[in-house]
Each structure stands twice: as C-alpha cells, then as structure tokens.
Amino acid sequence: MSELLSVSELSVEFTTDRGVAQVLDRISLAIAPGEVVGLVGESGCGKTTLARTVLGVLPAGGRIRGGAIHWEGRDLLRMDARLVNDEIRGRAITFIPQDPWSSLSPLFTVGTQIMDLMKWKSPRRGVTGTRGHWPALVRGYPGARRRADREAVLDVLRAVQIPEPERALRRLPHEFSGGQRQRLMIAMALLPRPDLIIADEPTTALDVTIQAQILRLLRDLVKERGVSVLFTTHDLGTAYELCDRVVVMYAGQEMESAPTDAFFERPAHPYTRRLLDSLPTAGGEIRDIPGEVPSLIGPPPGCRFHPRCDYATAECRARRPDAHAVEGAHRVRCYHPLSAA
C-alpha cells in the first residue's frame, strides 16, 4: 500500500536552560491513505512534538536534527517553506487542537474565522505557486468562490451537528460549549478536503459523554470521506475506540506498532504490557511501573526503557533495537519481545 505520510529517522531536540533535551530519537512512522493511526504515550514521550513537527509548528527552542518527512514522495523538510505553508499546511494536512477553549480568537465571530480559512485553504482555490502575487493582506476573495465556499461551510456544519449553522456563523466563540467548539474544529479540519488530519489529544479536555459523541462523529466522518488521521492521546481507551492501528512511544522513541486488536490483546513490548497492566481494574490489585520516566537531557543509551524493564540485558543498554515484524503489520523494537502469551 503506497504511503501517504512516511516519517523516517526523525530526531528533534529542545534547548532548555538546563541543557539540550533529545525529545525525538530517530522516529519512523508511516500512514497509509484512509488509515487512522493512534500515537499513544505518557506525557513527555514526544507524541505532541512529533505531531507538531509534521505540521511544521515546532515550539520555540525546538530544532530538527535529522531525518525526513515524506508526503506523497516529497520531503516536507527540504521543500520551499512558502510552498509548504500555502499548499500542504491547512490543505493536504489539517489540524484539530486539544484545547477547544483557546483555539479560536475570542474577538472575531466564528464565521469570520472560518471564511478566513476558506479564503486561503478552500479546495476550490487553484494551485497558487509561489511567485508574483499581491501580498497576502490585500489579496481579494473572488465573490463566486466565496459563495460556493460558504455553502460548503454550512453543509459541513450540519454534518458535525452544529445547531442553526446560519446563526452560528454570526456568534462569538465564547457562546459555544466545549463540545460544540470541538465540532467546529472538526468542521474546519474537514472543509479543505485534506488527505490527512493531525488531531492532538482532541477529546482530552471534554467530559466522557461529550467525548463519546465526538469520537463517534470523528470516526464516522473520517471513514465516510476516506481521510487518514494521526491521533495523539495519553488515554488508551480513546485509542481503542478510534484507531485502526496504534503506535506507542516512550521517552522519545517508538516502541511498538500494531493493529488495534493485536496491540491491546497481544502486546509484544514489555512497556506496552506494563502500561496496559497499570490501567485501574475493578477492585483488583493495582500494578504500577517502578522507577521514573528518564530525563531527556542525557537520556539512557540504547532502548530508553531498559532502566525500568524486567527483561533488560546488556544488548538493550548498548544499542537501540531495530524494528522487526512480530506478525504481519505488528512491529516491535525489542530484543526480547513478549511471546504472544
């Protein structure tokens, strides 16, 4: 299956006042068209950094040290920046943020902000090229395209079950609940008819019943339109609900990647096993993982889980294990993968 997005050997570091943190260590990840991939891991594992590196919006202090991000064969890191910003970002790849409360400007109506997005990112806008154009601020928005875009906006708002879409466009963001705002975010992510949506913990800030509605809505719309999704979360339950395949990360390294059912029933990597075991169960004995997540400033060599792993050997401490297939698409980076017990 040809890959839509393929991240290979991506390394990212952050300069902090306490030294340089190795946040991503040679990450490789591929997403096929129409596939929903879950990027799972505890805070500090680098999943959000990976998502933001693909989007090209690294926070201050972040630097890409190596690797490539191929999008339909072309490496985004070496393409002309303006071209990526005009053609890829917000058109081929769109974004759903985690915090619905702060992702829309409080001072502009929802309609203004959506139409601003459509002015630049509408599928009806031709390929722009880079040279010879009026500066962005003064460039006009042809009336015909604007009307067509507006209709498309109303359709998608209905699709995400926003009540009275006409009136909604005239209201300010603070007049919507968290759940409704996240529906707006989903609508804005779908409008440019992207090939890939990057959703960074989209339901973490929502109550469980609203989260269920949003997960169901997102899965239905995505599957209906064949859009692939890179979905980061620290909540294993939401990954189980939404994803076709799950990748688990720990301290900046990807540990295991498997189709969802295989991932949860037959985890091969010791960390995945311990993670699933520490989920609270009814009244049973609670097992946690001894030790602490290592600091990424001067991280442990080789497999970064070895200080807390029961099966760690000299090999694990020496060199990071290569990823190898355990069973079909189920791949793991470990010298001593757990048998399919």
Partner: protein, 323 residues
C-alpha cells in the same frame, strides 16, 4: 444497602449551595444552584465515590462540606456534631479531623515556601510540638508518601506533578485527619503515575485508618477505589449504590448512558453504539421536575411535573420514576 455499621462519620442532609448571579449593577438576578438538596452519609474506613461530569456540583459539595463555601441550606454532621453553621474560629478546630486535597496540587502549595516549611505548618497550627519533634514527624510522613528527604529543600515549582500531589497529601495527613476529601486526585496524571498514586492512597488509608470522599469524573478509577458510589447530575444525586451493583446493573438512565460512554478496552465500541444526545442544560435555568428529562430516553409527562425523590430499589437508591 448493607445495614449501617457504627454511626456514620459524616452525614449530609438536604445540603444546598447556591451561587448568586449578579448583573452589571451588582443586583442579584438569579442563582446557580450548584448543589441543590443532597443527602448522603460516609461510614468510618469507607471510600465513598462521588462521580459526575463537570458542572454537576461534586467539587462544590466537597468544598461546602469542608467549609470553604458556607452552606445555603441543609445540615452537615461530622462525628455527630453539626459543623455547617460554625463560625470561622470553631470551624478551625474541626479542620484538624476533616481535610481536603486539591485537584491542582501545585496551586495548593505556596510558591515561596520550601517543602520543609509547608509540612511543618500544619503541626505549627494545631500542635505545640517542638521544632525537633515536628521535624521527626515531617521526615516520617515524607517517607510514607514515598519522597526522598532531599525534596525538603525544594520549591513546589521544582517538583513534578506527581511529586507535588504527594507533598499536598503529606501536608493534609500531618494533623492525622479522620476524613479526607480527595478532589479529582488523579486528573491530568499519566496511567503509570496514576497507578502509583492510587496504590499510595490505599496504603495510607490502611496505615492511618482514613475515610475518603473520592471525587472524580474518571469512572474506571472510581470503580477501582470505592466501595460505594454516588452519581450526581446538575446538583443532585441521581443514584447511590454499592460499586459492584452500580457498575454491573446501573438503574438510572443517566448512569447507564454515563457508563456506556466509557471506552472498555477489548469490549464493545462506544463509536458504534453510544446514544446519549445533547449536552447538560445551562445550570442557570434547570428544567422543572427531573433534571435529566431533556436528554432521558425514558422521559414521560410525570417527569416534567415532579422531581423524583431518591428511593430504595433493593440494590441501592435511585431518583427516577421509571427506573
């Protein structure tokens, strides 16, 4: 309901806490009935879960019992003594036995104080122990919550989320309370850190014979920790039962949709068959009669007329005409 053992440690009768809504002129134009008539009891050594979605009033209930908010109506009896209406001074004597652990541990610690002073303070307030005696208890408690002595000389912002949570807990346990109200003790924690904190809560409960009022929106955590669970919706308790009964055979329609919204790894998928529509109504204008009727699959005319009382159904209490 198992027959009551000894007298309850905490008993709340028809407790209400309303917050006034003021318009531009500062005139009261209505009130948010955050807690609107709640009655429940907590027995010594027990962990009572208090679950519900944000805005259901569970934190407000916790804070009102703790005396952070004065009650608008109803009674709070702690160890048989009415403490709802106490003045600030008498209230402080109760503070020794009834403690509150905050949701955001970092914010509940004075950023300018080192951990050492933060742990000494409770003893300075409530006991006449000498400095050395206090230091001894502080170091013992620090080990109990699993922190190294070196952390005594750190400032709160120099600790991780999990460590701040342990310091917050240690601070409340210094005065050997009997009832501890835990407000969302695991929110924002990663799975493994959450597991270690829950293990700690259990160990401390045994070590100090504690009783917990465990407030949380995370049903899986409540199921693992609590013997009995109360479900709240818009300021009222809609169902209260033994944890096993409530999770296996939920009676109230809201409890049922709440449980059906929680992803169960390996089980049925919410994205295929979860059915609760809409969002909780605005707390400023609560529907008449039963509050859940605007979203309830079993709704009938009676629901709009009469607010169902909490009545026994053998396995537990439920507030619904048709459950």
């Amino acid at each position: 309901m198992s027959e009551p053992r000894a007298a309850p440690l905490l008993e709340v009768v028809d407790l209400a806490r309303h917050f006034p809504i003021r318009n531009a002129f500062g005139l009261r134009t209505g009130s948010i009935r955050a807690v609107d008539g709640v009655s429940l009891a907590v027995w010594p050594g027990e962990t009572l879960g208090l679950v519900g979605e944000s805005g259901c009033g569970k934190s407000t209930l916790g804070k009102t019992v703790m005396g952070i908010h004065g009650p608008t109506a109803g009674e709070i009896r702690f160890g048989g003594r009415e403490i709802g209406g106490l003045g600030r001074r008498e209230r402080r004597t109760v503070a020794r036995h009834l403690q509150y652990v905050y949701q955001d541990p970092g914010a509940s610690l004075d950023p300018r104080w080192k951990v050492r002073r933060l742990l000494h303070e409770p003893l300075q307030i409530h006991t006449a122990l000498s400095r050395a005696e206090r230091q001894e208890q502080v170091e013992a408690m620090l080990r109990e919550v699993g922190l190294p002595d070196a952390h005594l000389d750190l400032y709160p912002h120099e600790l991780s989320g999990g460590q701040q949570r342990r310091v917050g807990l240690a601070r409340t346990l210094m005065v050997r309370p009997s009832l501890v109200i835990l407000d969302e003790p695991t929110s924002g924690l990663d799975v493994s850190v959450q597991a270690s904190v829950l293990k700690l809560f259990r160990r401390l409960q045994a070590a100090f014979a504690l009783t917990y009022l465990f407030i949380s929106h995370d049903l899986a955590v409540v199921r693992a920790m609590c013997q009995r669970v109360a479900v709240m919706y818009l300021g009222k308790v809609v169902e209260l039962a033994e944890a096993a009964v409530l999770f296996e055979d939920p009676r109230h329609p809201y409890t049922r949709s709440l449980l059906s919204a929680v992803p169960v790894i390996g089980g049925r998928r919410v994205t295929r068959d979860f059915a609760l529509e809409g969002e909780p109504p605005n707390p400023r204008d609560i529907p008449t009669g039963c509050r859940f009727r605007t979203r309830c699959p079993l709704v009938q005319d009676l629901c709009a007329v009469e607010s169902p009382p909490l009545r026994s159904t053998g396995g537990g209490l439920v507030a619904c005409h048709f459950a």
